[in-house]
Symmetry: C2
Subunit: 197 residues, 2 copies
């Protein structure tokens, strides 16, 4: 492979990937507040104007970097076992958020509290597609009789993912696998006694 | 009552209350990023140095304002019905967060993402006492046989309150009473079919 491709599309794609990787690296190591577009450009080996050509702001490039990082873990398998499949996906998300990506996400949510456009873009790009995918997988579980037909799917989704964001954003304790097992156990079996096992 | 009390303790307390009320009003209306200590002092009718005498930073005074606002709603009743009592407390918290206090809390959590001391103070002052109170009320429910004895209390607490922070901080949709009913229904009855009602 040549060191510099003569194909401008490929070169653009290389720059784009370098910028997103530099964003995860710098924001993940230093924190969102501490990182400038200039520093991202320097780390990525591109000019600042290259970043501004594609992204209007640090929030926008950070959102893209987060979105691409999450792409690897957001899909739901369908093995026919709804709890196992939710567990696979939720462990993937939770473990990813114990890496630099977690700090990137903390910075993005912090910035979104005072930036309604960034908040809206985060919902449109990250949350709503993930919620839709989860809702589809849960609906299949309802069809197969693995969940009761009257379950509030939106309520169940809020409950399952709420615990991940609770630890990520309030820093009560580190995200871990046990938390995912605990939420699935309670959400599926319920807290009342006398439940048939 | 005299317009200005000659008692210095009472005057201090009046100033303290005015400062916390001004913080909720300004941060709740304008957002945390937009508000300065100077603006809070002006709104409260005190000198800037009065605020700095009691609080080291905007984050610290905002945390106190939040903590005092939450004081009115964090206690758990004990009527002997664990679901009803959780519902009372959670609705109180959720409804309070639909007022200016919600925006104050969003600002505080945003600031805490890049301020570990503020994050630690938030846990110490707000989250941990609330979690302890909830754990005690849940433990009473376990003793009385309203919850199964092997329930993961920490997991249940994460799950119940996670949904409130999920909507507050991700802005997926406004906090509402239905969400509290949905999480309690799922958490106690479980998502699996065939549960005896």
């Amino acid at each position: 492979m040549p060191a510099a491709s003569p194909d401008p599309h490929r070169r653009s794609e290389q720059s784009r990937r370098a910028i997103l990787a530099a964003t995860v690296e710098l924001v993940g190591d230093l924190g969102y507040e501490q990182v400038s577009i200039e520093a991202i450009a320097r780390q990525a080996g591109v000019g600042k104007q290259t970043i501004y050509r594609w992204w209007p702001s640090k929030g926008a490039v950070t959102l893209d970097a987060l979105d691409e990082s999450l792409d690897a873990v957001v899909d739901f398998p369908d093995t026919g076992d709804i709890v196992a499949d939710l567990r696979t996906q939720m462990l993937g998300v939770s473990r990813l958020l114990t890496t630099r990506v977690g700090r990137v996400y903390q910075g993005l949510v912090a910035a979104a509290q005072s930036d309604p456009r960034l908040s809206r873009a985060h919902l449109d790009r990250v949350i709503e597609p993930a919620v839709l995918a989860c809702r589809r997988r849960l609906a299949t579980g309802v069809e197969r009789g693995e969940l009761r037909a009257d379950i509030d799917l939106q309520g169940l989704i809020d409950l399952l993912y709420g615990v991940i964001y609770y630890r990520l954003l309030l820093h009560t304790r580190p995200l871990d696998d046990d938390q995912i097992d605990a939420v699935l156990e309670i959400a599926f079996s319920g807290a009342r006694p006398g439940r048939p096992r």
